[in-house]
């Protein structure tokens, strides 16, 4: 049971990842609830991401100044 469940979860994680990239493997399949949730989160986080990416490109701020790692 362990191996088959782990392998199945690896496939689901790949599908979820591909749902938020430009390269979905199978566009004919209905996205799983996890993939749909990831797409919703992608839309929610997109404005913040774009702002930070723009800052890196144009202001050349070090990434670590923007993304603070707590507890390190």
């Amino acid at each position: 049971m362990f191996r088959s469940t782990v392998d199945n979860e690896a496939q689901i994680a790949t599908e979820v990842s591909q749902a938020i990239t430009d390269d979905p493997k199978d566009t004919t399949r209905e996205p799983s609830h996890l993939a749909s949730a990831a797409l919703r989160n992608l839309r929610l986080l997109a404005p913040t991401m774009a702002a930070i990416a723009g800052l890196i490109i144009y202001a050349k701020d070090p990434v670590t100044d923007i993304l603070k790692v707590r507890g390190q």
Partner: protein, 315 residues
């Protein structure tokens, strides 16, 4: 939660397994899980409590789980050389290997003395062995270059997902043989492990330049890098160039350039989205499974997003 951890340590100290090596004792006495991460070695105990039944047998199972996880932790420390304040980072490879074997056999001794029915005992022994082999398979896969999401998730679910899955499943198996409930518990544990792996990769990715430069090969296989490669279909010339540089040419400048490139190509954004998605999913699965409030497990889920935090851009 500390009282549970104390019980687990007390159980390990009380095992009549002959003279465990001083080195295994040093590891057991000095390794500290911080804050909410103390829930990790206690997953079997916390699961039985969340499922609403108290049993004394969850302490020996958690003890076995803790000893196995410590064996893995000291191997990570010894090979990554990132936690110089821990004594085993200064041990020889042979000494580390002996301590690892000690911990694994201590784990087996704890399981061997488990006072449960034969079918439960057999299932739990099989699960520990199967998970150990799966985790090793994942570690072996991560030694080769990882360039696709398929490859990334194949190794990440074995390295982290299976291990967390075991902790939750083993706790549940002490209470039930119901295949549906056990399957749900395993799925929750695996997804918790996936969340942990995503969070670790993000934290590695934004860590200080010197540390990342030292661990450059690990950075290559991190989720933000693999996601950036995939988002572009084919790696851009600049990204391929940076990833192709040998270790002696990887310094803080290299790490900084790689981070900026991966970030602007969307690898970081996708990783953060995945972290948020799995965090929400774990809370939902736990809420469905738990028959009693499980604040420690919910806090453990949330602790993974405190490894990183998106600050408002300074304009």
């Amino acid at each position: 939660m500390q009282h549970l951890l104390d019980k687990v340590h007390s159980h390990l100290n009380g095992l009549s397994v002959g003279p465990a090596s001083d080195d295994a004792r040093i590891v057991l006495d000095t390794y500290e899980y911080q804050g909410a991460s103390r829930a990790f070695p206690l997953l079997p105990c916390l699961t039985t409590r969340a499922l609403g039944t108290s049993t004394t047998t969850d302490i020996p199972v958690s003890a076995a789980y803790l000893a196995c996880n410590l064996a893995s932790e000291i191997l990570d420390d010894a090979f990554d050389s990132t936690c110089a304040n821990r004594p085993w980072t200064r041990w020889s490879q042979g000494r580390v290997a002996m301590a690892v074997l000690d911990l694994i056999w201590i784990s087996q001794a704890s399981l061997a003395r488990l006072d449960v029915d034969q079918a439960t005992h057999q299932d739990i022994l099989h699960a520990f062995a199967d998970t150990g082999l799966l985790a090793l398979e994942g570690q072996r896969q991560s030694l080769t270059p990882i360039r696709t999401l398929d490859e990334y998730w194949a190794q990440a679910t074995k390295k982290s997902g299976a291990v967390f899955g075991l902790g939750v499943w083993a706790g549940a198996r002490l209470l039930t043989a119901d295949p549906l409930l056990l399957s749900s518990c395993l799925k929750f544990g695996i997804r918790l492990g996936i969340l942990s792996q995503i969070a670790d990769d993000i934290a590695d990715f934004v860590a200080g330049s010197e540390e990342v430069a030292v661990r450059g090969s690990e950075l290559d296989a991190s989720l933000p890098v693999v996601a950036a490669l995939t988002a572009q279909g084919l790696p851009t010339k600049e990204l391929a160039h940076l990833l192709g540089l040998p270790s002696e040419r990887r310094d803080a400048t290299w790490a900084s350039a790689l981070r900026e490139l991966v970030y602007t190509q969307g690898g970081m954004a996708q990783s953060l989205v995945l972290a948020k998605t799995y965090q929400d999913e774990c809370h939902q699965l736990l809420a469905k499974l738990a028959k009693k409030p499980a604040p420690e497990l919910h806090a453990f889920i949330d602790s993974h997003s405190t490894h990183f935090d998106i600050q408002s851009p300074r304009l």
